[in-house]
Symmetry: D2
Subunit: 358 residues, 4 copies
């Protein structure tokens, strides 16, 4: 269990970093949606390693193949399978880690839970697993955009202590893609890139925050009391590798305000109920209110570092490990399309759910 | 949809603040677990209104009745239904709010989504809905304690800007219950109580943070890649009313550290793999590592306040509303058993899931 | 697990034959459906014991209470809970069966599976469990009728070897309810009633077949490849107590025809595609084709009989048991509303599912 | 929705008869199960077309590739993906059927439901879709055999009116595989083969019955009240293409007996509770009782025949169609491994479920 996500727009991902390939089966996609491998490839390219000097230099072209569910360029309404073959394995880079557990990585817990693991490159715990999510997310974004008019944009707002406020109402994909760290503020982006590069050369790693906005939201998505929209978003985000925290709207900072300061007062804009502020982050009572949804995800520094650390091995001995191989000094740039994908999957699922009962 | 939670230990809650009652059906509870109404009542009393001067003065005894699934004091292995009757309605307190939407409350979104709502006291969006969760949580806690040796303790660590660090390794239920705000630090608790009381008299409200620890954790709970333990915990917590953020382990603060600083180095304690630090919060790669699980939930200030606010009414007119009735100036004291319940529900579900495949 | 049914129109039932009561939580009912306790009561009365001389003489009024989810006569879109209190217990009737397992009943398997059972009157395995299903089925039938124009009628076509062909295109609820065995053919009904009465006096039991038709079907319900409409109907029917077989359309008899004889040729009726015959039973490829859905369910003779049978007891000794108490000599008359309910639950669920993607 | 099956041993299948390929993702397989492509290939070869003169002459080698979830010959506990490439397309055979709907086939309902279909060879409604089920079924059978000692054997007992009783306690895979129709009685098998061959030359088709036994059953599988073991088996079987009926134990014939005749009396065999007869088919109250599970599935005659039939086309005109291409005159021989797979998937799922709570 655990590799299936969603109620109506349901995805099942598969694949380890090494082996035949990774991918996804999407069960529940509406029919007659136009989709092409090229559209999927666009986000896979934003996610793939080796795209810039601040990501891992592993070369993975990550070309996708749509195996089923699309006919003459349109979805059939039946299950869609997408496959990306694994390439450039270099299992030798992982030889030492076959027996030595990386601190704060999934090595030890996978071994304990399953009694077996594919130690080559992280196996199922590799970020490579997110390829299936990103591919499915492209289709979810397409549906949301085309049928519901929803647009989703994610971007980096913090790398370690370098933080910048971004106007979520206006930020564009072009701004995000204008630099390799995917922070829409060019000046801050330059500083972030320098910091990541420095940390990389030091064999260390850093983390940060990705913010994501969904604009053009309809009112009414979300199913209280458990499948509140923010609850499903939280699960989606916290299922991404390396996440340590989730916020919506005012988030943790909201605890510092009084109710009088925090409440989003209503006003009428034509015949539409609007809020003057958006500390709610676009969701009230678990249901979207039509304002922009704004969430934030905290990503920890990459666990795999080149510096020596104390650890233990599979024989139960205390040893030292300095990781080898080609690892991201900071996952944030590549996490941006992952966050978009997860937000899209949740919104698409809830959009279908709301259609069912309305 | 939306009122069902869990895969194997599955609960379905029901009930509005007004009407016949609220409660829960638990489908998937193992047989032969001893359970009594008194055990359930203990946490319902911690959750109920009117328990102290800093909670709403509504008088709701919230006596529970076990309708099914328990025979001669033991669970039957079939579905358990628990009912709490509604009392002390006073719908007149809500008369004005029948037509005026409370800012940052669920009134407007429920109306928009369903085209109908029980405007008496919040209806399904009332915190009264959590009674079913708390009742089910008691059974989950009992199972975890008895069969798996897991102990769950939640407590308040922040009220607005009053914050205190609590040693999650040692905090006890008795310490939590020693004061009405449920902060285990007596000095800070006194300050918090004063602050809440002051805010209450001002007709305003405040929020804060609840932290929760699960001790005695087995290794191996959690099902990557989507049902990672922290992902299910995040969903569980973010489904509680008034939550705006979720953290595990180092959380958002973890983004300020380097990998070298953040990683939890391993060592051997006898034949058990331990970590020197616990920035992971007891979970690595989505799977529990045997260290304590530590999570935090941010609760916003209560939306319903006595001060006048701008809002709109059901006729689409801009109006002013100063809420009447009996509302919590701060949900944190009563949120503590809710957080415990949600954490217990997730852990119990995953404990059963892990039994299935091991 | 196991007491929850449906994907979008999801029900969770609870209750044993003895204890606080039985009922259901419906999670996923659309909002603004008018529903009254009286409507629910109508089918509960068709299901309840003691309604005629050929059913068990147990007196159970089975009055239902809607606990939640309905406000001012309309559904709220949130979970609906319905409760029926248990009455007239007489556990003494079951004293001997507390230790002696009834042959072909659930006593022994419940004891083996759960290690515990409520031996009073069948516990969870009692037909009393179906109250929750029937109550939920009323709401499903209401939705199907009102929003989709679908009408569901079930009726008895066989009691033991007394069999009659009924025109499923024309049979009415009034015809079904015109006699106590619920066979729309009055002559055959009289014979069936005599047979059941004779068997009852003999302390024996008999079974038979219930047929059910759904008329006014839209095209397009059913989700291949696993959630084909006939697959979900089969599960629904085979989850009813005492069922041994399920057929759709031509059923087992269809295996005696060639393809040329069996195929339903198409023709145009206006702009609607129709079939000349309906051996498909209204479903082709797992999807409704707009023709009437016709299914049949085989019910075995009631397991609990007054005649002496060989059995074993909880101590592992071979003993003899002649059941006491008040049992149905034939479940068929009371099974009719249960079959309608299950068919309605499946169709309602699939109707919502189809709305989501179209 | 609809291409996902199972709760704990969950499979998602994908693929149309034409396009990149067909396959399955298995989410929830326990770790450390030895599995090889050869084992999977064994049943794929039993399922594939062109294996004998009485199946379709289409040449499909159906070689499987395990894409993920298996490492050094053992399952990893994470999702397993299996892919079989499509070959030998000949879409020209289907050119006429691109616009003319085959009577009693899924063509018309797919077109109506989705507004689009892959008309080449049946698309998703092709029996080719069952490749994923059969592949997953091999792993389920392996687990059941290895960990639980359960053995599953299916076989043909009827082709049209040629019927034979098979001793389900003794029938072996070798007997089933000893002839091309998969009826363990050699004399009857010869007659069946002749009949199918005659029907094939006539451009017509026939159906029949597959029986399946599960031996070595543990007591306690099945989750009342909805997920009764026979209910899940019924759904599994009725989700196979061309099925019209399902029976367990005495089935429809059981309606002809009295309770006294039908009940399975208990006796002790050592310390094990046994039944003298097995009209229950191994399940009582929805829970396995340790006796052999015996179920039967009715398969209609193949819809696609070479003889001319009345039908309509996509333009809404009444036309005549005599199918071209290479079709099975009788699906029964190839349905045998499909039935085994579906029974195995249900039992494996319930075996895991029972482990969770016991």
């Amino acid at each position: 269990m655990g590799s299936t996500f969603g109620q109506l727009f349901k995805i099942s991902t598969f694949g380890e970093s090494h082996g035949g390939g990774v991918g996804v089966v999407i069960d529940g996609c509406p029919p007659q949606i136009e989709i092409s491998p090229e559209e999927i490839q666009f986000d896979l390219d934003r996610r793939r390693p080796g795209q810039s000097k601040i990501t891992t230099p592993r070369k993975e072209a990550d070309r996708c193949e749509i195996l089923s569910g699309v006919f003459e360029g349109k979805t059939l309404g039946t299950s869609i399978a997408i496959l990306v073959r694994n390439k450039d394995p270099r299992p030798q880079d992982y030889q030492e880690m076959a027996t030595k557990f990386r601190p704060s990585h999934a090595d030890a817990t996978y071994q304990a839970k399953y009694g077996i693991r594919n130690w080559q490159g992280g196996g199922r715990a590799s970020a490579r697993e997110t390829i299936g999510r990103v591919a499915a997310g492209v289709i979810a974004k397409k549906i949301l955009k085309q049928v519901a008019g929803i647009e989703i944009v994610a971007y980096v707002t913090r790398i370690k202590d370098l933080e910048v406020a971004i106007d979520s109402n206006k930020v564009t994909l072009a701004q995000v893609e204008s630099n390799m760290v995917r922070c829409p503020d060019p000046d801050m982006a330059a500083k972030m890139i320098n910091l990541i590069d420095m940390v990389r050369r030091d064999g260390n790693s850093i983390g940060g925050i990705v913010e994501c906005v969904a604009r053009g939201m309809p009112v009414g998505l979300g199913d209280p009391v458990f499948d509140k929209l923010e609850a499903d978003l939280a699960k989606a985000i916290m299922s991404l590798p390396a996440t340590k925290g989730f916020e919506i709207g005012s988030g943790f900072a909201g605890t510092l305000l009084t109710g009088r300061e925090h409440n989003d007062e209503f006003y009428m804009q034509g015949d539409r109920i609007r809020t003057k502020t958006n500390r709610s982050g676009g969701i009230q009572g678990g249901i979207s209110n039509g304002e922009n949804i704004v969430i934030r995800a905290a990503f920890k520094p990459t666990a795999t570092i080149m510096q020596a650390q104390d650890t233990v091995n599979t024989a139960g001995e205390e040893v030292t490990l300095a990781a080898k191989g080609r690892h991201d000094p900071c996952v944030l740039p590549r996490a941006v399309p992952m966050v978009e994908a997860m937000v899209a999957l949740v919104l698409c699922d809830h959009w279908l759910r709301q259609k069912a009962v309305s």
